[in-house]
Structure formats: C-alpha cells, structure tokens
C-alpha cells in the first residue's frame, strides 16, 4: 500500500495533551476530536492538513495520557501515517489497535522537514522523500503486531479470537 502526502514536522516528546487537549475529551466523536487535533502545538494544523498527509516527529511521540482520542483525532484529521524515531508505549499500542499506521525510523525522523513531499510503502516500510530525493527504511514490526495490523486493528483481531 502506497501513500503520498506532505509532511508536518514536530520535535521530541509530542504529548497527548497537545495532540488533543483534555478540554475536548468530553466527547468521543471522531470528527469533533479531529477539529482540535494538534491545537496546542500547531494552531494552523487543522486548516492546513490534507487527506493523506504525514506527521513526522523525533523521539517519544505520544507520551503522556492513555487517551485513545489522540490516535483517533490524528486519523480523523486525514493524516495517513505518523513517522517518529520512537513512540511512547501506550500510544504505540493505541495506534495499532485503532488502525493508525505508524513507522519507527531514525533517519526519516531526522531528515524529513516540514512541507517535504513523502511517499510511504506500508508493506515494505520504505519511506521516500520526493522533495529531497532520498529513501529511508523503517524498522520492521514484530510478527505479533503485524497480525494486528493485518486485521486493521484489535477489534477485528478480537472478533476472530473471541
């Protein structure tokens, strides 16, 4: 599966409070959550994001709260994939469980800049920076997690194993 989009670039420790502030957690409506995605770190994000765009950050993306509203808001905003050098562990689980594609790749996290045109191949983990004409290879997922990804999230995985 190939996806192409423009990169939004953030730094270390992007926490769940800036991804979706707690003041909006009195709803679990996906579209409503998407309206406030990244609001406290990038007020223009919701106006600029287009379907298929990509978030790129450095280390510990998604640290903080267990709120699944964070990957839900990102996915519902149109973002197709988050690339970071590392993810906080609850966000990592939540992303797979809710079907938000994420990739761990130090080189991509370091090299990709805001606005770069990026193409991601989820099957191979190959990340192509069209703007800079560079290619980076993401870490492969452990087999168990790949099973959940193949089911498009934990709900379908559980359906098959209930």
């Amino acid at each position: 599966m190939l996806n192409k989009g423009k990169a939004f670039k953030y730094g270390d420790n992007v926490d769940t409070d800036v991804i979706i502030p707690a003041r909006y957690l009195n709803t679990s409506d996906h579209a409503e959550l998407a309206k406030h995605c990244m609001e406290d770190i990038d007020a223009d994000f919701v106006n600029n994001v287009r379907c298929g765009d990509i978030i790129v950050a450095t280390k510990n993306f998604g640290c903080g709260s267990s709120r699944e509203h964070a990957p839900i808001a990102i996915k519902a905003s149109g973002i197709s994939c988050v690339i970071a050098s590392t993810f906080a562990r609850i966000f990592y689980r939540n992303a797979f469980n809710t079907g938000l594609p994420i990739l761990e790749c130090d080189e991509a996290a370091a090299r990709i800049e805001a606005g770069d045109e990026v193409e991601v191949n989820f099957a191979t983990g190959e990340i192509r920076n069209i703007t800079k004409n560079e290619t980076y290879q993401a870490e492969p997922f452990p087999e168990f997690i790949q099973k959940i990804i193949n089911c498009d999230g934990l709900v379908n995985y559980v359906k098959e194993n209930i």
Binding site: R23, L25, S28, D40, R89, E143, F144, V155, K159, I162
Partner: protein
C-alpha cells in the same frame, strides 16, 4: 537467566514457567479498569467486537472521576453511558459520585488490587498499583474493550531498570521528590518500554503513600510499569484494605537488569519540575523567584491521607498569600471524611483554601481550577505539559505537598525547610 518481578508476574499469568525480554505473550487479567473519559470509547469498541458480555463482572472496575461531578452536558452524557453499561453488565465495582474517588487512590484503599495481580487500566497512571507489588499498566480504550471481552491482553515482555534505594529521606522530602529526582535523571523517555523495579534496604523507610506516589509517576519516565518489592509495610497495607489473596514475587538473584541505579534517599532535596516536562527538574535551592497564581494539592499522585496531613501541618494557623487560589482535593471520600475527622478540613478552610470533593478535574485541565493565559500554578499532580491545566500559555510546576503548601503561604515557590 533469572526473571525480574515483572517478568515473574507476566509468566504466571500467561501460564508459562519462564518468559524472556522481547517475547510476546497473552496473559490473564485480574482487573480491567476504566474511567469516564476512556470507558465510553471502550464501550463502542466492545460492541463492535461482538462481545456478549464482560468476562467477569467482579474484575471490571469503572470509576467516573475525570469530569465528575459532571462538568457539562457532554460529560454528563458520557457518564450516563458508562452508568447504563455498568448497570446492564452488572459491574460490581462501579463507583458513583458520592462513593467514588480518584481511581488510583480508590482501588488500593478498597482492596481491589493486591500483590501479584496483573492489572490493565485505560488510564496512564494505572502504573500506581506497582506500589503494592502488582504488575499494572496503562492501555487505551480498545485494549480495555478487548480485556473486558476476553479477560486477556497481549504484552511484550519488558526489560527492566533496578533502583536500589538506600538510607532515609530528610524531613520535608517525600516519595514525590524521589520520583521527580529519578525522572529528572532518566528523562521522560529514559525508561521507555521498560519496567522500573524498586528495592533495597531504604525501602523500609518509605511509607505506602510514598511508594504509591512514586509508582504513579513511572509513566512520566516512559516506563511500562513501576513495581516495588513487597515487605511488611505492604502486607500490613493489603490486610487493612481487604482480604483478597495475594502472591509475593521477588526478583531472581540472577535477574537481568539493563541498568542499576543506587538512590541515596538522604541526599535527595525537595524537587520541582519546571514547565513543560516532568524531567525538567530543579532542586528547591535552585528554583529562584517564581511567583504563582494557584496551588493545587491532591490528585492520584498526592491525594492520600499522608499528603493531606503534610499540607495541613504547614497551613495550620496560617493564611494563604493574598490573591492566591489554593485548591486542595482529597483522593477519595474516605480521605475526605478522615480530613474532617482529624480537623484538617477546618485547617484548610480557615487558611483560606478550597477543600473540594475528589475529582481528577484540575490536574488535566478538566474543571475545578483552570488556568488563564500567563498564569502559573504549583501542583502536586503528575504532568506539566503545555496546556495541561488550562490555557496553552499557562504554566504548571510539579512538586511535593510540602513544597506546594509552603508556596501557598508565600505566593511563590518556597522551601518548606525555611518556614
């Protein structure tokens, strides 16, 4: 190679004699927890999974504590949904406003979690119960839904960092200062995907409330869980809380730890985390002149009886600084009542502080103490991210109850030793 405490609990719950770091396992759950923010999402996913009902009505715990008493209509609707779910599923441990408390203060107090348990909770501070010798970790709503449906969850067996605690803390230093010191040392991702295991001869000098505050903030170093060796204090605490059978897991003598840190408790100073990350710590002697607009004492980190007593001992017979808002919220109804019985409620009110019903409200910028742009708070809570307590241009400084109470008297971040 031997196993850590965490690995032993995971192995026992996966029906395996041994597990190794990096291994994927499926483990049986003793408790599945959710709150009013995360449970509504879990209910949606639970239904989508086609679950017929919860795996065990005694093992699912639901505590509406974040936006309760309901802060607005949307929050009321979320709480109504979880109440209806709790009734239809006959959940025994559903705690309504009036009987509830902040989940991570409530569950240990009620004896719902015990040593050797495996607990998942759709709240990142679920790691608190490691203080009791349980494996306990935060997960999201979909994992909660799967846990409610199947009584099982998947885990990657973590490696661990060992903390060898030695000596004794000085007066006005508490478990909160110890964990802020450790987070400052490791960084907010210093224990990413790992266990933090606490042991050593200094353990006997930490009260259970110290340990609960420390385990609570393991997540702020990125850890999967924090866990303490079980000792006489733990057993006494568990027996007072209830009669749930417990199992004690000690690490094997040849357990493999990625790193070992010796923590000299006597050398730790009162510590403050500056905005906007918990690892941005400074000792009280290096804080400088930081004026504040609000003081918050309470939360799942520091809303226990000992925290209330420390705050009261400083505020007794004194007045909070002019134009400063001081909000004190005990962790549970039991703590609330004990504050009344011991005369602490009177001390707080006479000092000029708000004394509130239990709620997570102010800690996450939900309600009951939101900050305006440019305002600063010192709080005994656990996070000081951008916008955590309100406006994205406000600031939160994290500290112990002693430092927060001392600051309440002066209107700036203050050292309780100098009062």
């Amino acid at each position: 190679m031997g196993m850590t405490m965490t690995q032993k609990i995971l192995a026992a719950h996966a029906g395996l004699k041994e597990v190794k770091a990096g291994q994927f396992i499926e483990a049986d759950l003793d408790i599945v927890l959710g709150n009013d923010v995360t449970t509504p999402v879990a209910i949606n996913e639970f239904k989508r999974m086609g679950a017929k009902g919860v795996f065990d009505k005694k093992k699912v715990v639901i505590v509406p504590d974040h936006f309760t008493p309901n802060k607005d209509i949307k929050a009321a609707e979320q709480c109504k949904r979880i109440r209806e779910f709790a009734v239809s599923e006959d959940i025994e441990n559903y705690f309504e406003v009036g009987q509830m408390g902040i989940e991570h203060v409530l569950l240990p107090e009620k004896g719902i979690v015990t040593a050797g348990d495996l607990v998942i909770g759709a709240d990142s501070h679920t790691c608190t119960y490691g203080a009791l010798g349980a494996f306990s970790t935060g997960i999201g709503s979909t994992d909660m839904a799967a846990g409610m449906a199947r009584g099982k969850a998947w885990f990657k067996v973590p490696t661990a960092i060992k903390f060898d605690l030695r000596g004794e803390m000085t007066k006005w230093v508490s478990g909160k200062d110890v964990i802020l010191h450790i987070i400052g040392m490791l960084g907010v991702d210093g224990a990413l995907y790992k266990s933090m295991e606490f042991m050593g001869e200094g353990l006997k000098n930490l009260t259970m409330d110290d340990r609960l505050a420390m385990a609570n903030m393991a997540i702020e170093a990125g850890a999967k869980n924090g866990i303490f060796m079980v000792d006489d204090k733990t057993i006494a605490f568990l027996k007072e809380a209830g009669d749930k059978p417990y199992t004690v897991y000690a690490p094997d003598p040849d357990a493999d730890y990625d790193e070992t840190y010796i923590i000299e408790l006597g050398k730790i100073r009162p510590t403050v985390s500056f905005p906007h990350l918990p690892d941005n710590t400074r000792i009280i002697d290096e804080v400088g002149d930081v004026k504040i607009d609000q003081v918050v004492i309470g939360s799942c980190t520091n809303g226990r009886m000992e925290d209330m007593r420390i705050a009261a001992s400083i505020l007794k017979g004194r007045q909070v600084a002019k134009n400063l808002r001081v909000i004190i919220f005990p962790g549970t109804q039991k703590v609330y009542l004990q504050c009344i019985n011991e005369g602490l409620a009177r001390i707080f009110v006479e000092a000029g502080a708000v004394f509130s019903t239990p709620t997570c409200g102010p800690c996450l910028g939900g309600h009951m103490g939101i900050l305006a742009a440019g305002e600063r708070a010192i709080a005994t809570t656990n996070r000081n991210f951008v916008g955590r307590m309100g406006h994205p241009e406000s600031e939160v400084y994290l500290s112990s109850p002693a430092v927060a109470a001392a600051s309440a008297l002066t209107g700036k971040i203050s050292n309780p030793e100098l009062l």
